[in-house]
Symmetry: C2
Subunit: 207 residues, 2 copies
DNA sequence: CAAAATTAGTTAACAGTGTTAAGTTTTGCA
DNA sequence: TGCAAAACTTAACACTGTTAACTAATTTTG
């Protein structure tokens, strides 16, 4: 069935083109810059054709959110080399902050905007796999720190929530412009890193 | 000038009516339920009349954000009675979490949505007074803790950022539904409180 | 008191949004 | 070649915030 194969390939290609157009709009004009009509214009099809390849706009935004998680994974590719789990945890936190500030739009989609979660909730198998994987990495490192007695014994889940909460909180307060009027522009990023340092030091049993 | 007084009073009244209508829509249908046309319909004026009393929709949302801060202040009315600043800090954190979960829509407007900040940025005197005041309370308590040597000496600004970041992070991850698929529904709120406890204990010099 | 000027409010429109139902064109196969 | 299925488009719905231009009411002035 060579003809069916070719048709299948064309379908996959157009789906990818739609996604590429979405990425282009998203990267250049942010979340609000993505609209079904603009996507359709780029791929040179009518707006309704997009709906033959994606259920709705949320599905497209979900795919963009997935791309964001892949970018974040790349950010953390080098941390596995760090032997000391406490240092590795620290670096993971630093990377998280850096990612959020370098890709605020992707960060928004991954952790702030409702769209991707709305899509997940309408799926049959509604799991947030990307979030699950990211949290697993954090928990594993924390467990290792505890096993090696580098941090005080405690509930890993609770500690993971606290640490993730802290870095997420600082990133989201920054990208949603809540620090702008409170801190000096130039002090925001250093302060965030200092806050992370403070937490790491406070946790460290050797200090 | 009794006639001018009456006119002024009428203007103030209609402005208040518009705000009341906005609060009603916001409380009953959330952020997306507030629209200029719906507000106009409630106050029984044409949509464009609203623009004679508020510069734009962002100004209305800014006012709702201010109402949110007043609600939050009420939440913290009783904490001044707590003598021990470390306990007061703990209670402040607990209240923050509780407020965010009880009034997720107001919390959204106060700390997550861009609208109020966009309004502030277009003002001549662009200060985020409400945010400033809230941060001041946190810093003051932290300073008192440090003065009484209940916590390790350090930079108050940095610690405030870390603590605010953590509680804000946990609330925003909750209301933006990032914990839903990761934790058991019933465990979210207890876990958040445990995380706060963990931080407080880790900070406490006596433990 | 009547005319002019100011204030208050409305109508109509612009330029966009996501999404759906119905209709058309293209394609593949018997 | 005819027909069915797939692919795609047109037109429409029900909204959104916002502005310019117009009308109606009210106040001030001559």
């Amino acid at each position: 069935m060579g003809i069916n194969e070719r048709k299948e390939k064309q379908k996959v290609e157009l789906k990818q083109q739609i996604l590429d157009a979405s990425v282009k709009l998203f990267s250049e004009h942010g979340y609000d810059g993505v609209s079904m009509r603009k996507i359709a214009e780029i791929v040179e099809y009518s707006p309704t054709t997009v709906y033959l390849y994606f259920k709705d706009k949320n599905e497209i935004l979900f795919e963009l959110h997935e791309i964001g998680f892949k970018k974040m994974e790349e950010f953390n590719r080098d941390i596995i080399d760090i032997k000391n789990p406490l240092l590795r945890l620290h670096k993971l936190g630093e990377n998280y902050l850096r990612f959020g500030l370098e890709y605020p739009d992707y960060y928004d989609l991954m952790f702030l905007l409702p769209a991707p979660m709305e899509f997940i909730n309408k799926m049959q198998d509604c799991n947030w796999t990307s979030g699950d994987n990211a949290l697993f990495i954090l928990k594993s490192i924390l467990q290792e720190c505890m096993d090696k007695k580098l941090i005080k014994h405690g509930d890993v889940d609770v500690m993971a929530m606290a640490i993730w909460g802290m870095v997420h909180g600082m990133v989201s307060l920054t990208i949603r412009k809540r620090f702008e009027k409170l801190l000096d522009e130039s002090e925001i990023i250093p302060s965030m890193n200092k806050s992370l340092n403070w937490l790491m030091n406070t946790m460290d049993t050797s200090s």
